[in-house]
Subunit: 188 residues, 2 copies
DNA sequence: CCCGAATGAGACGTGGATGTCTCACTCGGG
DNA sequence: CCCGAGTGAGACATCCACGTCTCATTCGGG
């Protein structure tokens, strides 16, 4: 009977990522509940969006923890991170799109996570596994962008959900150009 | 005196990409004109968005033509395309975000250009310069996503506008991992 | 210099979304 | 079995953005 709060937020994120102007009524229907119930759980649209940001940041942090991005080689850490993020890619896409986060003087919680990701790329550069001509800031943005693009492609059935992490990781780390190392990895 | 239509559309795209729920008044102010004047040039919000799509598609097509993506090696063609697209990256980011384009039964003009880009990646795979384990459809989506991310990073001053094309092209083609070929290219 | 076209500011009515409320219903625990 | 908490549907007033209109002003060409 009781409404699954996380489920509502997931559906809301998926809808709002597709159609940012969706009305509260549309959001409620997408989540399979009545508009009144939606208002009972979230005071208003603003409160809903803030809850969305909060949950997204929390889930992203859990992914960072679960992937143990501070351990092992940097490339492996990036792969683990993308694997862990996949189930909540929709939420992250919403977060990345929702720049309101940036306008209102950068969000504190987000900054903490952002720094953590940037450090991962810095570490990869320092230990020689990542190239030095692409800044950690750009690699971080690119990671977000590719995850968002991937989540989108999955929603539109252009890519299967199970393939998404590999697509994102391979492109981000290895790029599109063919090379010997890629051939070797493919054969494993 | 007369309003610069393209300038208005550019500003509108930049604003709407950041804040999709921006009101007509905000759009007008962002473009430096009055709300009445905005309405004189575009019958309504829908008309504005349609004009935005039209201009974006037109500019993207011009970029595809100018880059002569059907000629030369595929990697070079991708680099030229990104260079040509850079000035209108904001418009393209809007187009990519504006999924309404996909909802309303895919847009005809867009499909034509999308096919053209996919063919570029297919060509690269056939001539052996691109890897085969990433589908042309995904590489195409990734290109759009990275261009959008790049445009965004430039807007937020995280990346200099002149560096954006290189950042996007290098990541898309070469990826983040260090390798001998990259070192060689850097020394040129 | 002067006239006309275009603009900016603002008033105004309208429609749709919002937030609140009521009421009947349903489900689950005691 | 029964009661209460939680829900869906809908009514309702309110508010905001929209689209239209007017009017004074400004800018540029003739």
């Amino acid at each position: 009977m009781s409404v699954d709060r996380d489920h509502v937020l997931r559906e809301a994120a998926a809808l709002l990522t597709r159609k940012a102007t969706a009305s509260m009524d549309e959001i409620a229907k997408a989540a399979g509940i009545g508009r009144a119930t939606l208002h009972r759980h979230f005071a208003g649209r603003d409160a809903l969006v803030r809850a969305l940001e909060e949950l997204g940041i929390q889930q992203f942090e859990q992914a960072l923890d679960a992937a143990r991005i501070e351990e092992g080689d940097a490339a492996g850490a990036v792969r683990r991170l993308i694997d862990e993020v996949e189930p909540v890619a929709g939420m992250l896409a919403f977060l990345f799109t929702e720049n309101q986060l940036y306008e209102n003087g950068t969000n504190e919680g987000w900054n903490r996570l952002d720094t953590r990701v940037q450090r991962l790329f810095s570490r990869g550069q320092e230990d020689g596994s990542f190239r030095l001509d692409l800044t950690p800031a750009w690699l971080t943005e690119a990671l977000y962008g590719l995850i968002g693009t991937g989540a989108w492609a999955v929603q539109d059935r252009r890519v299967a959900a199970k393939d998404m992490p590999r697509m994102v990781a391979e492109l981000l780390l290895g790029g599109a150009e063919r090379r010997a190392e890629t051939e070797r990895r493919m054969k494993r």
